[in-house]
Symmetry: C2
DNA sequence: CACATTTATGTGCATGACGCATACATATCG
DNA sequence: CGATATGTATGCGTCATGCACATAAATGTG
């Protein structure tokens, strides 16, 4: 089958959806550029994450992540807390204001996408959901990658989460292989 | 129907596809950031476009578009030509090197997306293509918006183009309405 | 034709985000 | 205890961006 047209349409569509997300979340925050919104979503999704993890999830250098946290902290969105297990590490937690911005960003993102898909029938929605889930499971390639893939996810709406499911499935396959090897 | 999960999956998937595109095209150019790649694709897709149109397509300010063209011109990717119809306007054309980079970016983008969708069956590909086309036609909202939506499109692979089709369909509906009004 | 307005592009300047190299504190290993 | 690795923070230069403004050409008005 010739998949060139599908590749192109999917690419163009994805860029457009990403634009919609950016437009929606841009208004949700004062001076809300893409990186701060992604960071707030990331911390909201991974409370207590460290600065290093934030850098991985957002593909930033360590200095970049530190400076981003500086800005978010100055804006009252994110709070640095010393970790009790590791004296070097810093845990990131949303302030109340940050949590409000988090929910705001998610709901604006959802409404932007809702405008886009309201042309689909129930059946088409179900089909697209199935296809998106399959593609996401196929895209998963390890924990670090998941941090990045899920950086703008709404974990309440993402139930069951295909990335988690794929993670568990790969673990189960690994365990089965190990058990077979032990028995054989 | 509850569409929250679909909204979320589509959003996460789109961000991931956009990442794939960015990753693919980033390597295709020396120092290839997102804006230069988008600009080369834009000029490749709209040869002879003006700086103002580039700015609209990439959502840049006018100074931003001018500076971007400065960089691309210095890199030997894009050539400024004075317009013959308008003494103020500048036409943008890809150089031979720019055209090579254009094709390179498109093929890398395609292969990145190909990796993602090779998990789908032929039937699923056809279904997804149909859904993507429907969503894109619904997303179209006028010529300026089309410049932006199509900024990373591969016009060879995009045949028939759903954005053009929607544009023509809206024109046809408009003409039909006018004809009816004239007759009625 | 003279003059004001709009349009398309270019420039001085300040800001801000980023990465590299480096420094410091803490954890871990031998 | 010393050596190395890890997590975080900072000085510095670079670069992209937008605002305000300037220039040139097209268009509209009397």
């Amino acid at each position: 089958m010739d998949t060139q047209r599908l590749q192109n349409l999917l690419g163009v569509l994805s860029v457009h959806v990403t634009d919609q997300i950016a437009n929606g979340t841009l208004d949700a925050l004062p001076e809300g550029l893409s990186a701060p919104v992604a960071a707030i979503t990331f911390v909201g999704h991974n409370p207590g994450a460290t600065i290093a993890e934030l850098g991985i999830g957002l593909s930033l250098s360590h200095p970049g992540a530190v400076r981003l946290v500086d800005r978010l902290s100055a804006a009252g969105m994110v709070e640095r807390r010393p970790s009790k297990e590791d004296g070097r590490a810093v845990e990131l937690w949303l302030t109340q204001q940050g949590d409000t911005a988090y929910g705001d960003a998610l709901s604006r993102r959802a409404s932007g996408i809702a405008d886009l898909i309201n042309v689909l029938s129930s059946d088409e929605c179900a089909t697209l959901e199935h296809l998106a889930e399959k593609l996401l499971r196929h895209a998963y390639s390890g924990h670090h990658h998941a941090l990045r893939i899920c950086r703008l996810c709404d974990d309440v709406a993402c139930d069951p989460c295909p990335i988690e499911a794929e993670h568990d499935a790969q673990l189960a396959r690994l365990n089965a292989t190990l058990t077979n090897a032990a028995q054989g």
